[in-house]
Amino acid sequence: MLFVKPSLLKERGIIGMNRRNVDYIARYNSRKLYPIVDNKLITKEYAKKHNIAVPELIRSIQYQFEIKQLEKILSGIDKFVVKPAQGAGGKGILVITDRKGDTFYKPSGMEVSFNDIKRHISNILSGLHSLGGKTDVAMFEKLVNFDPVFEPYSYEGVPDVRMIVFQGYPVMAMLRCSTHESDGKANLHQGAVGVGIDLKTGRSLFAVQDGRMIEKHPDTGSAFSELQVPHWEAILPLSAACYEMTGMGYLGCDIVIDKNLGALILEVNARPGLAIQIANDKGLLKRLKMVEEHAPKSTSPEERVEYSLEHFSADR
């Protein structure tokens, strides 16, 4: 059967794009809050204010003339990431993992010169990577040292945890692992693997690629059943705090795990996708309804996490 009966999806509490847009995004995300999440520089500012851990900003470049000072800016820095503040879909991100004199190296080992970096920044500023081509700001961030626990599950890229947070309550989580097919990107519709994560334990539930269930990573061959997300107990309150930080009632936050610093918020999304339901083999609706109708109004992220742990574990 190519199509399923809508009643079956309804029974399982699957929400579709229309319901997400009408009943959640339009109702809970005020338009004026969008810049907070759409511009990563502002997101960082807000995160600082709310004591939320983020990758450290080295500095930002807004004007073309500042590019001349690049040698000074990068003196003594060997590892960093350059990204556009308003980039969409992971575009325009340059990762430097090593440096020898004036030569920099990408994770793949490719050499990058000072001039290459300068041209890349110039492109970012002129809006090459930003949505709609607006002029943009380039950000220099400290490189995240990824926790080695994820190494078997990712190919040419970095896995991150996507958490849906509704009115401050974490309701569903998945791990996104890049594959050869997804070209190192963590977007599910481009072929990345989505691994549903039990909210209570941080252990994997299912893994799907292109909407189909899989057992092993297609490139590395590691079984997903062994997967346990580290620092899970820290990830939950961190994501819950994004509610206070952005003021958005329905959001998706992307979390990376640093070997030394632990969980960090990479970015917040005001229009999180619905593929998370496929990865969890579970609809969002019942959990969202539960929060809407029964969850106590709490200002403490920890209290909300308690509630989520109790009500949204996989065995319930």
Binding site: F3, I14, G16, N18, G89, G127, G133, K282
Partner: protein
Amino acid sequence: MSSRSQVYLLAFMFFALGIGLTLYKNQSLGFPLLPGQSEEVWTVESKVTFEATDEPITVSMILPQDGSNMTVLAESFSAPKYGFRVKEENGQRRAVWTKRSDQGPQTIYYKLDVVKNGESPSLAPPIQHQASSITLTSEQESRGRSFLEEIKASSADNLSFTLELVKQLKILKEDNNRGVTTEFKKKSVTELALILLRMEGIPSRTVRGISLEDGRRKQKAIDLIEIYDDEQWTIINPKNGKEGTPDDVFIWQRGGISLLDVEGGVKSKVRFATIENNQPAKTVALDKSNVEQSAFIDFSIYSLPTESQSAFKRILLVPIGALVVVLLRIIIGIKTSGTFMPILIALAFIDTTPLAGLAIFLSIVSVGLWIRGYLSRMNLLLVARISAVVIIVIGLMGFMSVISYKLGMTQALTVTFFPMIILAWTIERMSIIWEEDGPKEVMMQGGGSLFVALLAYVAMTNPIIEHITFNFPEMLLVILAITLVVGQYNGYRLTELYRFRDLAKDK
């Protein structure tokens, strides 16, 4: 009130208003709901002829009046070298032609277009004292009385009395051996019946009508009898003894005043010719509302100059395209590049025909994408980049037109109907999608856009839809209502039933 119920209330109001106005225009003003409907329009030509006797001439003829069973759409008077005016007299319109003097045969024409109005007019009750124009001898009167007594005995009320009267008079007239006077023979059934009805005290009058027969010429006006009974006038046709307004008769005049008066002429007569022609029902409705001066039409698109009207014809199709886009995106879930790009492409398809349009569109966009790929390596700023693409698109359009013209393919000349800014933006968007999401996504969105555009084209060129959007712009409200309701739809899209197909499986 929640926003949802507000939307439904508003949508309901728009819907009811739109449907209501449409029905009003259809039912009361006669605008046809379907294209190609036509209505019978009768052209009646009355020809007045007489011999002038070298004296001042005054010709006056009664004109059709309110309360007729037909509406006059247009009338024209033609009598060269005659002075002409229309005068109102006791609520009757009379045309008056005048001339100092002339000799010999004279002809005056009065032509009018009429259409059935199907109305039952409210007619004024009879004036109480109607002076009899004919004085009867005592013998005539007594014979009349006894005749009336006979009929009275075999009738129940005024109507059946009159019907019986007409029937008996006809028998009398046909039978020559009954010893009737020549005076009796000279008079028509109608005239006799009216005299006798007056004697009986039943309010009655003559009704003059024109028999509507296609191509009939030189016919006389026919006389009908109308009696007042039960507070309403009823027409009786003396020819067949039937009551009610005959279907094929154009009621010209009510009451006993003369049809034609000629001073300064002899042997005057008036003859009628009738021709039937079919006219588009819409034209008739518009003419009618012109006559009746309907404010609703006066402030409609029809009051615009024809040129603007045809521009609106196209503009009013855009909501249909928008509705198609809304339904396909929200209910079906088809991805398109740019929300309303498909409508603009569909509009271009109307001019180019879809097949030629598709070919032109695909060739320009693919060449444009190829050039845009090179432009992106030059790291241009967005505005400059788009402008460059616009210029290139224009160049491509010109190149395409010239080459295809030289090759004898005039179809490609319609390339100019594609909005070039839209083409440029499509190229820009597609190339960004290509870079960010790969060629598969370009095919998905580009194909989706073209599919939606084709569907919108089919909807917009449907003759019935075209007819309704232009003739009933009120339907915009209905489309608005549907759009509002669909905007609240939070159910699944058809594509999601495929996307989430594994989730419905029992584990």
